[in-house]
């Protein structure tokens, strides 16, 4: 295939198809053993300095916040990140644990741009490559497919392609130009779900964002869940199980694990908390104070929940709309 154009962006994670195959062959255990553990144990065991980390969420929705806070508490550094994200990436950037970003969108939607992202990137501290949202998800899809790249007609003709590491080629079947996106195999994926059993069979209610793809693109997958339910129960509805247990390395029970974000049908997002964070995030000292209070202060998710307060969380539960 003739390469017509190459993006100038650095390829932060080279697609290693055979390496990924070897890894899952060797490490993904198919025996039915409980993978229930605390977030401390999960992060200690499965997240290393320098890892390429992926978080799955949409905006502040179903965000793996309890796991992210633990990654920061343990100070895992020189991380590479893919985002699509916001609060979790803001916190990782604010804690100065990130070297590179494959970025599609990091901002607060209607509330505007991220001050923390601005400081991290404008100072030259964090390197970036840009992608469309479709493109970054298809990169996970390619990894999930076990192939080195996937074609798309997104990004053609734009600087988004120019500053990515995609390549434009002539299609060998039709002769048309297509963009090839390199598969993005993650060292670690973090996903928060509605319910799981102790083995790691996971179900998500509502839209599933890119959980399907990210779960399958991760060498190591840590799942946090609002509820742990019996295997008997979850296996009555296998059509709802989007992530089967053999993809999962750790299952962490984390009620309100998406707080201050929302969880559909369970609790609404904590506007008050987020609005004050947004204000504080404009100032580096206040950002640090936020990290001290909400991330480094509580030693685990249970303590975080106590800090936020159960009354407040119950109120958020009452604010979520029904079906």
């Amino acid at each position: 295939m003739e390469v017509l154009e190459s993006g100038l962006g650095e390829l932060f994670q080279k697609p290693d198809v055979w390496g990924f195959r070897e890894w899952v062959h060797k490490h993904k255990d198919k025996t039915l053993t409980s993978k229930l553990m605390s977030e401390q144990e999960a992060v200690t065991k499965f997240v290393k300095d320098g890892d390429y980390l992926g978080t799955e969420l949409y905006g502040t929705v179903r965000a793996p916040m309890s796991l992210t806070r633990e990654v920061i508490r343990q100070g895992r550094k020189h991380l590479k990140l893919a985002g699509q994200g916001i609060h979790e990436i803001d916190l990782l950037l604010a804690a100065d644990l990130v070297d590179t970003l494959d970025i599609t969108y990091i901002a607060w939607e209607v509330y505007g741009i991220s001050s923390i992202l601005r400081r991290a990137v404008e100072s030259g501290r964090v390197k970036t490559a840009d992608w469309s949202n479709g493109a970054i998800t298809w990169r996970f899809k390619a990894a999930a497919m076990g192939v080195p790249f996937i074609p798309t007609l997104s990004m053609l003709g734009t600087d988004t392609l120019k500053y990515s590491s995609a390549k434009v080629v002539k299609c060998p079947f039709t002769g048309q130009k297509v963009a090839l996106l390199p598969a993005l195999f993650l060292d670690v994926g973090l996903i928060h779900v509605h319910r799981a059993d102790k083995f790691g069979n996971c179900q998500i209610d509502g839209i599933s964002g890119f959980a399907f793809e990210l779960a399958r693109a991760s060498k190591k997958l840590i799942v946090s869940t609002e509820e742990i339910i019996d295997t008997e129960e979850i296996r009555k509805y296998p059509e709802h199980t989007i992530i089967p247990y053999f993809l999962v390395d750790a299952v962490v029970h984390a009620p309100f694990g998406s707080h201050p974000g929302e969880m559909c049908y369970m609790y609404w997002r904590d506007e008050e908390h987020l609005m004050s964070f947004l204000e504080e995030s404009k100032d580096p000292a206040k950002t640090k104070a936020y990290l001290d209070k909400y991330v480094y202060g509580p030693k685990n998710h249970d303590e975080y929940i106590k800090l936020v307060g159960i009354d407040r969380l119950k109120k958020l539960q009452s604010m979520i709309g029904g079906r």
Binding site: W131, S132, L153, S154
Partner: protein, 254 residues
């Protein structure tokens, strides 16, 4: 109820562009309000697609983001990003509605950086789904809240989302789907279209009280002017009532 603000006007103009029985791929903010208003006015069967997988939501309550539970409340389907993006890529989605920090005369949009790429003077959010929307939807409608020469620019700092790129034929040359591209631009000063031959932005109608000269002055690039420039109908009492009482009663945006 003749008093209205610029945001309300923008929403009404955008809503009127949403045709019944079509699919609209909408981003955060004004497009969401416009879609909700359109469904309650003239387009009950408008299918609204959100990038994280909610398609055909009732929009009884206004979403705060493109993935919150209101984006799939009583929806037709709730799947994931791949489904929405692939639906657009295979030609199912008529309209895309986006906003941007900068737009040029070919309708290209910048939402990535101000200044050079890295390290930039200002790091903006990035493409998100915008590039996909602008690449694949048949008709792109851009909503620019502030029409001035810093936003309607000769040269974008970064071309995030494709309009007509460098002019006639350039989308096709780049490999983008034929017969797609920018259709309308809605700003606080007026409504723009694109000249069929040159693919350049052209003023179609001004908002009441705005002159053609003002639009020219507030665009850094040379704005083409339609033979007959109309005047946009101000929001009707019915539009304003629905907008204020049913679309955004909590005044999140308006």
């Amino acid at each position: 109820m003749s008093d209205y603000n610029e945001t309300e006007f923008l929403i009404c103009i955008a809503a009127r562009l949403m045709a019944d029985k079509t699919v609209a791929f909408v981003g955060t903010g004004i497009p969401m309000l416009a879609a909700s208003l359109a469904k309650k006015m003239h387009a009950p069967d408008l299918i609204v697609a959100f990038e994280f997988g909610g398609t055909g939501a009732s929009l009884e309550k206004l979403p705060l983001g493109v993935g919150d539970s209101r984006t799939f409340h009583k929806a037709v389907v709730a799947i994931g990003i791949c489904d929405t993006m692939e639906t657009a890529q295979r030609g199912f989605i008529e309209y895309g509605f986006l906003g941007g920090a900068q737009i040029d005369m070919y309708g290209n949009l910048n939402t990535t950086v101000i200044g050079k790429y890295w390290p930039p003077k200002v790091r903006l959010p990035g493409s998100g789904g915008a590039n996909d929307v602008g690449s694949h939807c048949w008709k792109l409608i851009s909503i620019m809240r502030q029409h001035d020469s810093k936003r309607f620019v000769k040269k974008l700092d970064f071309l995030t989302t494709p309009g007509y790129l460098t002019g006639p034929g350039s989308r096709e040359e780049a490999g983008l789907p034929p017969n797609t591209g920018p259709y309308r631009v809605v700003s606080n000063l007026g409504l723009m279209a694109f000249d069929e031959k040159s693919k350049r932005m052209m003023l179609l109608a001004t908002n009441p009280g705005v002159t053609t000269e003002q639009v020219i002055q507030n665009s850094e690039f040379e704005m083409l002017i339609a033979d007959k420039v109309g005047i946009n109908e101000p929001p009707t009492d019915k539009e304003l009532k629905i907008l204020r009482e049913n679309v955004d009663p909590d005044k999140l945006y308006i």
